[in-house]
Amino acid sequence: MMKELIPTTEEYDAVIVGAGASGAIVALELARKGKRVLVLEAGRSIRDDEDGWRSVVDTFHGALAKVPNSPYPPTAMAPQPDVLQLAPIKKGVPNSLGYFVQKGPQNFGSDYTRSKGGTTMHWLACALRMLPNDFRMRSMYGVGVDWPIGYDELRKDYESAEREIGVSGDVGEYWLPGVDPKTYWEGYTYPMKKMPDSYVAKRLAARIGDLKVDVGGKDYKIRVTPTPQGRNGMPNPDYVDPLSGKKGDYSPTGTQSDPLRGERCQGNSSCAPICPVQAKYSAHRTLNRAQALKKGPVSLVTIECQSVATFIQTSKDNGRVQYIEYMAYAQDGAPARKKRAKGRVYIIAAHAVETAKLMLLSDIGNHSDQLGRNLMDHPTMLTWGLMDEPVWPFRGPGQTNAIPTFRDGPFRSEMAAFVLPIDNWGWIWSAFAPDVPFAQLVGQGMFGSALRQKVAHDFSRQVTLQFEIEQVGEAYNRVTIDRNFLDPLGVPRPIIHYELSDYVRRTMEAGVRISERIFKKAGITNKTQYSVSDPCHAEYNGKVYSYKGCGHYVGTHRMGSNRNNSVTDSHLRCWDHKNLYLVGCGAMPTFGTSNPSLTMAALAFRASRAIIKDLDKHTSKAL
C-alpha cells in the first residue's frame, strides 16, 4: 500500500498532529504571533458550509442506531472506536471486533472521532472547571497524584478557554462544594448567560426539596445547579473580553457560511452527536479563526487532512525531533504516500489514546514508564425511572443542570467523587429511548389509541440520573501496542487494558442508595436494570453495576514535577525531547468530576505560551 518516501521541502515553525480542539487552539495561538503552522489531520475534512454540514446531519438522521459516531463514519485508513463495537469480554479473550483491542477485564466504553474537528464534533460541550482540591488529590485525600500546578495558576487560561469555546454560564447561581466563590472566580462572569434550566431539572429540584443524604457518616444536602456549557446563548453584558479588555461586546460565533445562523441554541436536542445549526462549539470554529490569519495573502496555518502521522523521528545526539513521518491517502483503499513534515517545534494533539500510541510506536519519551498508563474516564452509572408527572424530556440541550453535591468531600479518601447530571433526553442513554421502549410496546402487541396513549404517558415521564464517577490514574489502566494487531494502513491498533478499582465500585454501591433516596422523594418509580450481559459492568459485594463510557479519555501522557514520574512538564513539554509537546486530555494527572475538555483547552493555551517562547528564544533553525 505504500509508495516512495516524498520528503516535504517546506519547513514550518510548528507541526501539529491532530485537528481537534487542542491542536486547533495551539495553531490559533501560534498564528496570532505570526508563526507558520502545519496541521496534519488523519481523518476527512468535513466541510462546515451549509451543504457539507447538511450531509452530516442527514447521515445522522438516516442512521439506524443513533450513537455519537453515527454522523461521522470513519475512513478505513483512520479507523476510530465506536460504542457499537462493544461486546462482553470473556476471560483471556480480548474483544478485537472493532478498532480497539479490549483486553479488559472491563470494557472501556467510550469512542472518539477521527475527522477534522476531532471529538468536539460530537461532544456534549459541558464546560466545567476543575475544583481546587482536584489538583491536590494526593495531599488532600491520599489517592492519585498532585498536579505540578494548582487551580490558581490555571485560572487565566480557563478564562481564555471559555472565551474561545464560548461558554454560557452563571457564576452567581453556580454552587460548588468546598469552593469559596470569591477566590474561585475573582469577580468573573461567563461570556454568555446560562442556558435556561430544563423543565425536568426544574421539576426534579422542586420535588427533591431539602433532601439530605448521608455519605461516609456526614449529611449532604442535594442541590441542583446549572451546568456551564459551550453552547451559544444570550451574550452577557457584564462580560469583559480578556483579549480586547472590552466590556459587553461579546458576540457568539455562528456557522462559517452564515454568521447569523447558530448564534443561539434553538433546542435541536441533539448536541451530542451533532448540532444542526452549529450553536454548539466544535473545533471547526477555532480552525477557521486560525486559518483566517494571514501573512500577506497566505494563510499562516495549513491543514492537511487524510494525513496520518505514523512515526516521530528524533536525533540520537540530543533527542530533538527531526521530522514527523506521515501517510497521505487520497481515498480509502488507494495507495498512501509516505511523507515527511518538518518544523522547529512539534505538537502531538492526536487525542489521549492516539498521542500515546504514536509515542509508543516511535519508541520515545518514556523514561518515566508512564506513557500510555493512567488511562481514565468517568465511568457513568445510570439510574432511571418514570416520574409521577410529565417532565417533557427530549427538548433542548442534553443537560442544563446537575447535582454537584458530591464533587468534593472527605469521603474522597475512601471512595470516588461523582457529579450527577440530570439527563434532559429521557432514557436515551439508559434504555435507547425512544427506539427500544417503542419497539417493546409494539412487540407486546400494542397498537391504536392504547399505544399512542402509552407513549404519551410513559415517554413524557422518563427521567435518567447520570452518576459520572471520578477515576484516579492506575498504572494498570493503559494503552499499549502489539504489532500483531494492525489497521489497514499497517499502523498498530490501540490495545486497551482497563479495570475499575474498588475506589470506583464503592461509589457505585453508594450511588444506587443515593439514587433510591432521590427517586423516592421526587416521586420517581425506579426502572433501573443492570446485567452481567451489559458489555460494561462491574461487580461489588455480590451486586452487579452497569456503566457507560463518558468519552473522557484522560491521563495517558501525564504531566508532573520531574522526568521520573511523568511524561511532560507542566507546560506539556516532553522531558526527554525538548522540541516536542504533548497536548490534550492525556496531560491531566487527575480530573475530578469535571468534563475534561475545558481544562484541556486551558492547558493548550498554557502550552502555547511556552511554545512561542521557545520559538522566539531560538530564532535560528536549530531549536
Binding site: 446531519v57 442527514d58 447521515t59 445522522f60 438522521h61 438516516g62 442512521a63 439506524l64 443513533k66 435556561p196 434550566d197 430544563s198 423543565y199 426544574k202 446563548g233 443561539r264 441554541c265 434553538q266 433546542g267 435541536n268 436536542s269 441533539s270 451533532i274 444542526p276 445549526v277 410529565p390 417533557w392 424530556p393 427530549f394 427538548r395 433542548g396 440541550p397 442544563t400 434532559n424 433526553w425 425512544p434 427506539d435 417503542f438 419497539a439 409494539v442 412487540g443 402487541g445 397498537f447 391504536g448 389509541s449 392504547a450 399505544l451 399512542r452 396513549q453 402509552k454 407513549v455 404519551a456 404517558h457 415517554f459 413524557s460 415521564r461
Partner: protein
C-alpha cells in the same frame, strides 16, 4: 365503517387506525407513498393485498372507532400472518424505520433480499410521529426554539390517563 377501494388509500385508512393518528396527519408527513411502495417491495403485492383485505373486513364489521380497534386486534394484530406486517407499518409511521420481518414469518411466507432493518430515509426519520406523540420534536430537526425546553410544550398532549 367506510373503507376506500384504492389500495394506496386503503393503506392509509388502515395505517390511521393502527397508529391512532388521523389520515390527514399521516398525509401531512409526506411519507405515505414511499411507505406504501416500501411495503409492496418488502412483502410483495399479493400478501400486501391480503393484508389490506383483512383490515377491510375489520372496517366492514365495525360501526365506530372503538369497535374497529377491537376488530383489528382480532383479525389483524393477533393473526400470525398479518400481525407482524401491522407492527411494521406502525413502526414505519412512528419511527420512520422498517424492521426486518421475524425469521419465523419469513420461513413461512418467504423473504426478499432487501428485507433489512433500516431508517427508510433521513426524511422518514424527521417525520416520525413518536416525537409529537409525547410533546417533542425529532432530535436534530424541527427545533422548538431557544429556551422552549424550560416550560411544558405549547401543543397540548394528553398524558393523564393510563390506557
Amino acid at each position: 365503517m367506510d373503507y376506500p377501494s384504492d389500495p394506496a388509500e386503503q393503506f392509509l385508512a388502515a395505517s390511521a387506525a393502527l397508529t391512532a393518528f388521523e389520515v390527514v396527519e399521516l398525509q401531512g408527513t409526506g411519507m405515505s407513498e414511499s411507505y406504501w411502495n416500501l411495503l409492496l417491495g418488502r412483502v410483495g403485492s399479493a400478501i400486501a393485498g391480503e393484508f389490506l383485505s383483512a383490515c377491510g373486513s375489520a372496517f366492514a364489521k365495525s360501526r365506530n372507532a372503538k369497535e374497529l380497534e377491537a376488530a383489528l386486534g382480532k383479525r389483524v394484530m393477533n393473526d400470525p400472518k398479518y400481525g407482524p406486517i401491522a407492527q411494521r407499518i406502525i413502526t414505519l409511521w412512528y419511527m420512520g424505520t422498517w424492521s426486518a420481518m421475524p425469521s419465523a414469518w419469513s420461513d413461512t411466507y418467504g423473504s426478499c433480499m432487501n428485507d433489512v432493518s433500516q431508517v427508510v430515509s433521513p426524511k422518514a426519520y424527521r417525520e416520525g410521529l413518536v416525537w409529537p406523540a409525547f410533546g417533542t420534536h425529532p432530535q436534530a430537526a424541527k427545533p422548538m426554539g431557544y429556551g422552549s425546553w424550560s416550560y411544558p410544550p405549547l401543543v397540548k398532549v394528553n398524558t393523564d390517563a393510563e390506557p
